[in-house]
Amino acid sequence: MRLELFLMALAVGVATYAFRVLPTRMARRDLPEGGMLARFLASTGPAAIATLFTASVLPLVQQAGLPVPLVVGTLAVVAVFVWRRSVVLATLAGAGVYGGIFGLLGA
């Protein structure tokens, strides 16, 4: 194992750990209800997940416009989630449909 690669991973790992833990420890004191920071934090979750979804889809769109597998796969995730209310089933269905359409179209 290369020492320099391990040291880089360690630096990133320690920083990431600090990002995840230190603000959580500091946030133990009560935040004023309806305050700006409280509202900011309440909106962070949906904003973060929407951002990560967009960031993960963007390279697929940039490669091939709006490919059919992406559209159908996305619809499959939404449809299965509405039907079963299950994150795992929706995820697996979306990936399965995406791969299936990809194979059918010979993309």
Binding site: L10, R20, T24, A42, F53, A55, S56, V87, T91, Y98
Partner: protein, 239 residues
């Protein structure tokens, strides 16, 4: 009285263990998503010239999927390790917001073991915990330990399996390769649907628009950071 107190202690302990088990079960969707994604990472890492041990080490030590894929791109492009580390640290800065947002949603105060379960507060664990709370589930540290342990184990195991399979593992399986490539977006979308409410629609729209704009004009890392902050600011301004 002493017997009653003893009984209550046992009940509390069992209840706590139940929380841990519930957390582990709640990790199942994440594990099913993580295994193939981590497998892809293991394959990509060995394809990029890393050894099996180095691939697994990245998953054990960094434990942040998007950053790990970016790490491969940076290392193989010849970027210095200092520049790579700074870039990856900046990319993971978004995690600063997760813990406080989660505690706010849970109305939780007494966090004695956050030093442990906080390590596993990834994008997906955060999303799953938030979804659990939004659906009326009870929040506890044992739940977070279970949730985090299941997700972490699947990530490390998936990476190891991918690294052992080797860089050419998916070359003869284009459909499987495509399906695995869509696993991460599908997981994020499902998590988003699980916490969706009418009041958050403007937050989501702003986050998406800003992410696309900044990603196209600057970089994907900047787009992620800007999208999150812009969406959260929109949430502050709308009420």
């Amino acid at each position: 009285m002493a017997a009653d107190a003893f009984g209550e202690d046992i009940l509390a302990t069992l209840k706590g263990q139940g929380d841990g088990l519930r957390g582990l079960l709640a990790a199942l969707p994440i594990a099913l998503g993580y295994l193939p994604i981590a497998f892809s990472f293991g394959v990509a890492a060995t394809r990029a010239g890393l050894s099996e041990a180095e691939a697994v080490m990245l998953s054990v030590v960094i434990y942040a999927g998007a950053a790990q894929f970016l790490a491969l791109a940076l290392v193989t492009s010849g970027a210095s390790l200092v520049v790579s580390a700074i870039t990856l640290i900046a990319m993971n800065l978004r995690h600063v917001l997760y813990g406080p947002a989660l505690l706010k949603a849970a109305g939780a105060r007494d966090m004695r073991t956050v030093w442990g379960w906080g390590f596993g507060l990834t994008d997906e664990v955060f999303g799953a915990a938030l979804g659990h709370i939004a659906r009326g589930g009870a929040f506890s540290e044992r739940f977070m330990w279970g949730l985090g342990a299941g997700a972490y184990a699947s990530w490390v195991v998936g990476t190891g399996l991918g690294a052992m399979a080797g860089g050419a593992a998916l070359e003869g399986w284009p459909v499987l390769d495509a399906a695995l490539g869509f696993m991460l977006p599908a997981l994020f979308l499902a998590l988003l649907l699980s916490i969706l409410s009418r009041v958050q629609v403007p937050v989501i729209v702003v986050a998406v628009v800003v992410t696309v704009g900044v990603s196209l004009m600057a970089s994907a890392t900047m787009g992620i950071l800007a999208g999150m902050v812009a969406g959260a600011v929109a949430g502050v301004l709308q009420r």
